[in-house]
């Protein structure tokens, strides 16, 4: 199991478009992927779950990856968070 703590860097926060990208990225992998924030632990492969987090800029999320390809998934998804979803 891999656990990563990431921060939301872009101004608009985790809105629909980056949420959809995260779900798409995660769905490529076999491993389970969860995002936790404020006592909610949501499935990162579900768009409604990711959007329910309503993560604003500056907030911290805990990403959990578990399964055979967890390393690859963790690398790609953590990188997407750290790039601020390629948004200002």
């Amino acid at each position: 199991m891999i656990e990563k703590i990431v921060k939301i860097k872009n101004k608009a926060g985790l809105h629909t478009r980056p949420a959809a990208t995260i779900v798409k990225l995660a769905s490529k992998y076999k491993c389970e992927f969860f995002i936790a924030k404020d006592g909610l632990n949501i499935n990162g492969k579900s768009i409604i779950g990711v959007m329910t987090l309503a993560a604003e800029t500056g907030s911290e999320l805990i990403l959990t990856f578990e399964g055979e390809d967890e390393q690859l998934a963790s690398d790609e998804i953590t990188d997407f968070f750290n790039r601020g979803f390629d948004e200002p």
């Binding site: 769905s27 389970e32 969860f34 936790a36 404020d38 006592g39 909610l40 632990n41 949501i42 499935n43 492969k45 579900s46 768009i47 409604i48 779950g49 959007m51 329910t52 309503a54 805990i62 959990t64």
Partner: protein
């Protein structure tokens, strides 16, 4: 099996008096006597306290951090004191960090009590309910506020009045099963993210989040609004969790329940919930099976256990000496239908 990450479990540490007042003013008919300057005070626990002894001077072990309820005893006690004594008694307990005070039975506050509660910024409320009733109501409300909350990924549907939670890997078709059930007249509680709240001993109540309420994602289609689409009959806001159904792709190495004599359980937050593992196969209608699971649960609940009943028949047959015909009908008497 279900596994719950500690990250999915949360519990409120405190609520502010303002939140308490805003959420319960109508329920408990609370009237605000003091000003709102103490509204940021915090309530940390669900227990209430009657400060009779503390008012009388015994402040050892005074549970000051609880909501303080002034019933008839406290009011009567204060009324038989003279003004100085009253101020002294009230100030004695106001030295402590009290969250707020509720006067029951329509008792009006003494001018000194009102004045001091504004001075010490301790909110003062009144209610027409009797102390016993108010204590019951407020404890229940606070109990719910401070209860453990667990977030779970799944679909939660009321099937014939049974709260069924579908869990399983993402993409296995939980939402599709829920949608199918809704189409057949059952009611969706929440899809995707379910919040379970411990209520009392042995009960878990499930609901959605305030954001994701009755929205659902169908792969290949996107997000749909079940309430708008199917109307009010298709939804409900809360339901007690009664059965957990795990969907999984048929696995040749897994043993599935055959007789149903032993009910499996999952433990969520210390509470045992009946659990069914349902393999998915082509041509298997999960929706109909879900309905049957619910009906079987209801039968069991009302005292009839099909598997046990069949077992009894078997045992009777085995013990019988002369076994008659195995055919279910003894004699087809001119009935060729």
């Amino acid at each position: 099996m279900i596994k719950i990450d500690q990250k999915a479990v949360s519990r409120k540490e405190f609520i502010t008096v303002e939140f308490f007042y805003m959420s319960t003013r109508n329920l408990f008919q609370l009237e605000l006597y003091s000003d709102t300057s103490g509204f940021n005070r915090k309530i940390f626990e669900q227990n209430l306290h009657r400060p009779g002894l503390a008012l009388a001077g015994f402040v050892d072990l005074f549970s000051f951090s609880r909501v303080q309820v002034f019933g008839n005893t406290e009011t009567q006690y204060l009324s038989q004191l003279n003004k100085e004594q009253r101020i002294k008694a009230i100030e004695r307990i106001f030295q402590f960090n009290i969250p707020c005070i509720i006067l029951t039975d329509n008792n009006k506050p003494f001018p000194e009590l009102l004045e001091l509660s504004n001075k010490y910024k301790i909110p003062l409320f009144g209610t027409p309910f009797s102390t016993t009733k108010l204590v019951y109501f407020v404890s229940d409300f606070l109990d719910d506020q401070f209860a453990e909350r667990i977030s779970i990924h799944g679909s939660f549907v009321d099937v014939y009045g049974t709260g069924m939670l579908f869990i399983g890997k993402s993409g296995i078709g939980k939402s599709e099963v829920a949608l199918d059930l809704v189409e057949r007249g059952h009611r969706l509680v929440a899809d995707d993210l379910i919040i379970l709240t411990k209520k009392g001993e042995g009960i878990l109540m499930g609901s959605g989040t305030n954001m994701g309420r009755h929205f659902m994602e169908i792969r290949g289609l996107g997000i749909i609004d079940v309430e708008r689409m199917f109307g009010i009959r298709a939804i409900r806001y809360q339901k007690r969790l009664e059965i957990v159904v795990e969907l999984e792709i048929w696995d040749d190495n897994t043993e599935y329940t055959r007789t149903g004599l032993d009910q499996e359980h999952v433990t969520i937050s210390g509470i045992d919930i009946p659990y069914v593992k349902l393999p998915i196969l082509p041509g298997k209608n999960v929706t109909v099976i879900s309905e049957v699971i619910s009906l079987n649960y209801l039968l069991k609940h009302y005292g009839y256990k099909a598997a046990e009943s069949f077992q009894e028949r078997l045992n009777k047959k085995i013990s019988e000496k002369n076994k008659d015909d195995m055919r279910g009908v003894e004699y087809f008497e001119h009935d060729f239908e």
